[in-house]
Symmetry: C2
Subunit: 343 residues, 2 copies
């Protein structure tokens, strides 16, 4: 018998696998406007679009319950899905939450998780409308699906960027990644000496970035007030470089990003130094910041230039000109996407 | 320090836990018509309702890959979600599929799974529009969300049954459960003697009921042709008795089910005997048949009485009169819901 062919999944990676599986998918319903390939799927429901996004979070891969409180995990699971809806310029409205639980989890533990879920539902005004609850043979599994709506003329895809559009990012970058390093270090120290008290006060900002990210709904409202509609948008879950690659691919363009424009918080900067890490690398490749990355026509620059929380970090260029990263000393190198790999 | 309270989840069970977690959930959007508590959530999207349902399937709990081919698993994951949409009298339109994979799985294995997913999408004419693909620290996790639409006057809830409505069930019952017993027995025999060839031909019908259930979309079309609109409906995932309890609870009624009316296939009957099991118990408490259980006004009886695949098995009665099971020899006993427990 011929030996069966075996290709390891990490040879393709998450995005390669998705492309392979989604290839040639046929749609039967004209209401299906966009399927796989953006932050959310887009369905025509008549007067507006319905958008839906889903995330699967598994213990040991996406979270470590030895330092992630269940309340925060519940909050974050909702926030990251709301963030996907935000990245389409949508209004989140409903979520479903499915949960797989091993027998390690008590009713009280699940209630703590739901405290966070309910808190996020309240903050983002989304309705918890369903889900599935079942056993798991190992650890905690969370699967969240978010539904939202967006006006047909308001929707923003990854694919809408134009040559010379200005690249903007909200908030600051790399903090969630550095927060994770702190939590991992404290865990190791605790394992080595359980008498030790965690020293997290000094790192409250970056730890908060990791444990309790916010979906930037506020930015959508402010852009509307400024009468700016981004030409393309994505939320930063995999890391700036990797997510910028998604924008480039969808819009069929190249990009230029300036190192000295990357917004990095002082605490991220200083803590990166403690780990002998380059803060710019953290900003480029650290994932889970859940900020918004978007492009605007050059003519809109004046409208956003004074916004304290929107930073212009580069621009889109012809695909042939490639993906460039301009370092602080003026050298231009090729932008590399290392990003967050969950394989 | 006071000891923390710990309540085991199986003390509450799946439905008790869901009730506890969903208690007091506030909805922010008037478009959210129904949340937790039916086969699917219901959202008002203007001219019609959007319905959405989600299922989480975990290896070792919901399926055993030593006898479930990945193609069949993929097909079933879609079919059971389509079945939830069918149970609301809806038309399934889109699905998202999230997948957690341990490193045991190769690209070829995932492709086999997707073969089944694509086959089901084709059979039910649903569009695969998104999902999430990630690693899992143990085994395979599948989370499927289905979206569908239904006319506002066509939707059927679990809660619409009236006193004296006739209880109908489609197809036959207990087959999926008996099929599972066969597969488990063959697995044990194989483990004891790996040289042994599985003998499944004789059991093809019941094994097929377990491995490749169908969502009864056909019945919805036929009921429409017969101009019958059920007053309440649910799909049989947990088992007839357990799902009948859901109908009773939602409709605030009692029920009568007749043992001699239970539709049971000859192969189910004979195979149950091999295991010294009562086929009626299999029909009542075996899960995963994915048939439709519904109620119709007595005046509609004539319209369905000659339908070969719709069986009248009882009727709804006042809540105070309880839930009754009338045995073949005419005794009336209390109906008990053992159902499928995934805890």
């Amino acid at each position: 018998m011929a030996e069966e062919k075996r290709t390891e999944i990490d040879k393709l990676g998450e995005f390669g696998l998705i492309e392979r599986l989604a290839g040639g998918v046929k749609h039967y319903h004209p209401e299906t406007i966009r399927g796989i390939g953006d932050d959310a799927a887009v369905l025509d429901i008549g007067n507006e679009f319905l958008i839906t996004s889903t995330d699967l979070l598994t213990e040991g891969i996406h979270f470590d319950l030895s330092y992630v409180p269940l309340q925060h995990l519940g909050y974050k699971a909702i926030a990251v899905n709301v963030s996907d809806i935000a990245a389409m310029n949508g209004k989140p409205k409903q979520v479903t939450v499915s949960m797989g639980l091993s027998n390690r989890f008590s009713v009280e533990a699940v209630e703590a998780l739901y405290e966070g879920i309910h808190a996020a539902c309240k903050d983002y005004e989304v309705d918890l409308v369903g889900g599935d609850t079942t056993a798991s043979s190992s650890g905690l599994i969370l699967s969240v699906t978010a539904l939202g709506t967006v006006g047909k003329h308001d929707i923003i895809y990854r694919s809408g960027a134009q040559e010379n559009d200005i690249l903007c990012v909200t908030g600051d970058l790399g903090g969630a990644f550095i927060g994770l390093q702190i939590l991992e270090r404290e865990k190791q120290e605790y394992l080595a000496n359980p008498e030790m008290q965690p020293k997290l006060e000094k790192y409250d900002y970056v730890v908060g970035r990791q444990l309790r990210p916010k979906a930037r709904m506020d930015i959508l409202h402010e852009l509307r007030d400024l009468v700016v509609k981004p030409s393309a948008m994505i939320d930063l879950s995999d890391g700036l470089a990797s997510d910028a690659f998604h924008l480039c691919k969808a819009s069929d363009l190249g990009i230029v990003i300036y190192e000295d424009k990357l917004p990095i918080d002082k605490q991220t900067y200083e803590t990166a130094a403690e780990f002998s890490m380059d803060p710019n690398t953290c900003a480029l490749n650290g994932g889970e910041d859940y900020e918004l990355l978007f492009t605007i026509p050059p003519g809109d620059f004046d409208k956003i230039k004074n916004h304290a929380d929107i930073h212009t970090i580069g621009y889109m260029q012809k695909k042939e000109n490639g993906k460039a990263f301009v370092t602080r000393n003026g050298n231009t190198v090729e932008l590399k996407a290392q990003g967050w790999k969950h394989f």
